[in-house]
């Protein structure tokens, strides 16, 4: 019995969707998520992975099928059918990618909004962003304007832990202005928003914590603010992601995420003694 090609196409399509679903749900290619915006990121990643897998496997399947099914036998000198195009088919595969891409754009806009990336855009335009960074203003009056790094905590009302980060060839230096601690590694408590005030002394560096899914270039002459909230205890690498010279590969540090109590202990033991 010959199965109609429409049914075969339908079955192949369903198999593709199931494969996409399986890949999205059961394949994990990302490091552990340790900040509040990481699960949001992972959601986007799963959607991209599902769509990408369906497209790649589908296209590969069609090409391989064509190569086998339509291969030329020895001695065959005939031509294929003289089909020069098909307007409705071409419109179909113009419209489908356009819809998918538009959907992805809107969806990733939504994801970015949930990560806090669009806060600035919603607060009418780019010239007002300094006003939002009230804590920057308060702690350092008269400080030069800081570029906003693009990812902010979901709610802006919690108490923020400011940390000054200086990137230089080939290290990150962390300074806690409120506690007057200077450290080569970053310590943060869970559940509290941390505001990194980044500046570079020499060349461009990039501050990247894979487990937090955040990255920010640190550009000389362009002080930048980056905010995140860690939510998983652990010790995660901080990696410089922008070529900064011979020892670029060695420019690494780490961030220790602690319970608020353990973090308080760390602050206490590391606060320099003051004469007062």
């Amino acid at each position: 019995m010959r199965i109609p090609s429409a049914i075969l196409t339908l079955i192949a399509g369903m198999a593709l969707v199931l494969l996409g679903q399986w890949v999205a749900n059961d394949v994990n290619w990302l490091p552990v998520s340790a900040s509040t915006n990481a699960p949001v990121y992972d959601e986007l990643f799963r959607v991209l992975l599902a769509i990408g897998t369906m497209l790649l496997v589908g296209m590969t399947g069609v090409v391989v099928y064509s190569l086998i099914r339509f291969r030329r036998r020895d001695g065959d000198q005939q031509d294929g059918p003289p089909v020069e195009g098909n307007l409705s088919l071409e419109l179909f595969w113009t419209a489908i990618p356009a819809v998918v891409v538009l959907f992805l754009g809107i969806y990733s806009y939504d994801i970015y909004d949930r990560m806090g990336g669009m806060t600035d855009l919603n607060a009418h335009g780019m010239d007002h962003h300094v006003a939002e960074l009230a804590s920057v203003r308060q702690s350092q009056p008269g400080d030069e304007e800081r570029i906003w790094g693009g990812i902010a905590p979901a709610s802006g009302n919690e108490t923020v832990l400011p940390v000054e980060v200086t990137a230089l060839q080939f290290a990150f230096v962390f300074h806690y202005p409120e506690q007057n601690i200077t450290s080569g590694e970053l310590h943060v408590p869970t559940g509290q928003a941390v505001e990194l005030r980044l500046k570079a002394n020499d060349v461009i560096h990039a501050f990247w914590v894979p487990e937090f899914r955040i990255k920010q270039d640190v550009i000389p002459g362009q002080p930048t603010v980056l905010t995140f909230t860690a939510n998983r205890i652990g010790d995660y690498p901080i990696v410089c992601a922008e070529l900064c010279g011979p020892y670029h590969g060695g420019m690494r540090s780490h961030v220790v995420v602690d319970e608020p109590e353990s973090f308080a202990t760390w602050v206490e033991t590391n606060t320099p003694a003051t004469l007062s």
Binding site: I51, M59, V63, V101, G150, I219, E242
Partner: protein
């Protein structure tokens, strides 16, 4: 016939140009000689770039910096990128195949400006040698092929200046070539050949040349400002002198993103020529293919800031560039669907040219999917400047253009040389390249997602195994060129004769002898109004017997 034959052809005519093999080392004005000069010269630089890639993969076989010094490693990765882009892919897919094929396709005897054409080629070997020699005189540039300031201002100045000079010369060569292609395609078409009758490669080269002419001068201006910052201590891009480092990134990517299309659009055009011949079917959707190319040209000029999503670009800019970038997938997708529709129900010859083209389709689709993902700001923020991006752009530029260059060589070698290549060695070449390439670059996606940044000589030891896998893939890719080289040398010496048209193709370069005479055709140039007229059964003439005049007279 109005062509006057010379009254008494002397047995040894006086020639201004050297003949024989010597003409390939001369300032030849023949577009076919120049095309082959580009291709062979590009291949030599491909080996240099490949050797540099070998150094990188050897260094990365271990997590510590132990093979070359850290300074040398950065010089190697800078040279690798610059050589592969500016001396291999751009010259070969544009200058090489463009010069060889475009005059045939428009029915001309040569390019519009033959002397400019020769100048454009002869700028390449000296600037390539200058670039490579900078390694031996005080060290090459160390700031990557992107040369971001302030790093490029603080690394040794000599290497950086030599890098700038050679890239400027190569950019100049590219602009000369672009002007020549635009003039040839628009003004050198023979009477009766309308734009919409041109083979698709002409459209691809027209689009590419528009990009070259619009975008390359921006790079030239930027690099001149950068060299002033280095030599004259001006402060255009130097924050320490009041400059702005991000402005450089905008200007640089205004050229260097279109540069991706300068590399892949000609490859798209070449594939559009190869597939119909070996599938024995017309190219599916000619008109939408043309509009897609033009859409890619326009969109390609307005997406550059997606390289800068972590550089503190304002949010409205991120939104715009996300959507513009993702939309390039629409015209690109049309082209891929049309190629697959061209294959569908064809009579596919599973030869090396066809298989390399199909491998290109699969790999470019993969690279395109990761490209759409990278256009999404939140996704990009995590993987920007990591091995994920390295994997993505190698799928685009190696999977997307180098595979097409090989497909094109298998397809046009009979025309270039008059001899056939060996298909068994060709398929072995394909299998080794395909396996090696995917083994080398597919695992790098995972590396990037999990925390390995690009351009590092040392890395977290947890990534050792995957990096070693990748290095094995690179080794396979290096080995895969051996069957190709053996094939080319053997065929040149004792390959079977190809005859004028071994593939029974309809495009004009096949309607002449192999290799073609100096002015392309003896007698009148054929007027090919349907370059993809395969599959029609009525009123067909056997192409093996046809001469150019037959097609010329066959006007409806």
């Amino acid at each position: 016939m109005t062509i006057a034959s010379p009254p008494s052809p002397s047995p040894q005519p006086l020639r201004l140009q050297p003949t024989g093999w010597l003409r390939y080392f001369s300032f030849s004005l023949d577009h076919k000689v120049i095309g082959l000069q580009y291709i062979v010269c590009g291949f030599l630089f491909y080996f240099v770039g490949g050797a540099l890639a070998g150094v990188i993969r050897t260094e990365l076989a271990t997590p510590i910096s132990d093979f070359v010094s850290r300074d040398t490693y950065n010089q190697v990765l800078t040279l690798h990128g610059t050589v592969m882009i500016f001396l291999w892919i751009v010259p070969v897919v544009n200058g090489g195949f463009g010069n060889y094929l475009i005059p045939f396709y428009v029915g001309a005897r040569d390019m519009a400006f033959p002397r400019l054409n020769a100048v454009a080629f002869w700028m390449i070997p000296p600037s390539g040698l200058l670039l490579i020699s900078s390694y031996f005189i005080g060290g090459a540039a160390q700031s990557g092929w992107t040369a971001y300031p302030p790093l490029s201002l603080t690394t040794p100045a000599m290497g950086q200046i030599l890098w700038i000079v050679s890239v400027l010369l190569l950019g100049g060569s590219s602009i000369f070539g672009g002007i020549n292609f635009i003039a040839t395609i628009l003004k050198f078409r023979q009477p009766g050949l309308k734009l919409m009758m041109l083979p698709m490669y002409c459209w691809a080269m027209l689009g590419t040349s528009i990009l070259v002419v619009l975008a390359t001068p921006v790079l030239a201006g930027t690099l001149i400002l950068l060299s002033l910052d280095i030599v004259a201590h001006t402060g255009f891009f130097n924050p320490a002198a009041g400059g702005n480092a991000v402005v450089y990134q905008h200007l640089f990517w205004f050229y260097s993103h279109p540069a991706v299309y300068i590399m892949v659009l000609p490859a798209f055009g070449l594939v559009s020529e190869i597939l119909p011949v070996h599938a024995r079917k017309p190219l599916f959707g000619y008109v939408t293919m043309v509009y897609s190319i033009m859409a890619i040209v326009i969109l390609g000029l307005v997406v550059w800031a997606h390289h800068m999503f972590t550089s503190g670009t304002p949010p409205w800019m991120r939104l715009f560039f996300t959507i513009a970038t993702a939309f390039i997938a629409v015209p690109t997708g049309i082209k891929f669907f049309n190629w697959i529709a061209t294959l569908w129900q064809g009579r596919l010859a599973l030869n090396s040219a066809m298989l390399f083209s199909c491998a290109f389709i699969l790999q470019f689709v993969f690279g395109g999917i990761t490209g759409v993902a990278l256009a999404q700001v939140p996704f990009d923020v995590h993987v920007h400047d990591t091995y994920f991006v390295v994997a993505h752009f190698h799928y685009i530029v190696y999977g997307g253009t180098v595979f097409v260059i090989f497909a094109s060589i298998y397809h046009w070698f009979p025309k270039f040389s008059g001899r056939m290549l060996n298909e068994h060695l060709g398929r072995l070449h394909l299998a080794l390249t395909f396996i090696g390439f995917n083994l080398c670059f597919a695992p790098q996606h995972w590396l990037g997602l999990n925390g390995m940044p690009r351009r590092v000589a040392e890395y977290d030891p947890q990534f050792t195994l995957i990096n070693q896998l990748s290095s094995v893939g690179a080794l396979l890719m290096a080995i895969s060129t051996l069957p190709f080289l053996i094939n080319v040398v053997m065929s040149l010496l004792q390959g079977p004769a190809a005859g004028p048209n071994p593939w029974r193709a309809l495009t004009p370069e096949w309607l002449t002898s192999s290799p073609p005479p100096v002015e392309n055709w003896i007698g009148a140039a054929p007027l090919v109004k349907e370059p993809y007229g395969y599959g029609s059964t009525e009123g067909r003439i056997d192409v093996n017997q046809a001469r150019g005049q037959d097609l010329w007279r066959q006007q409806p």
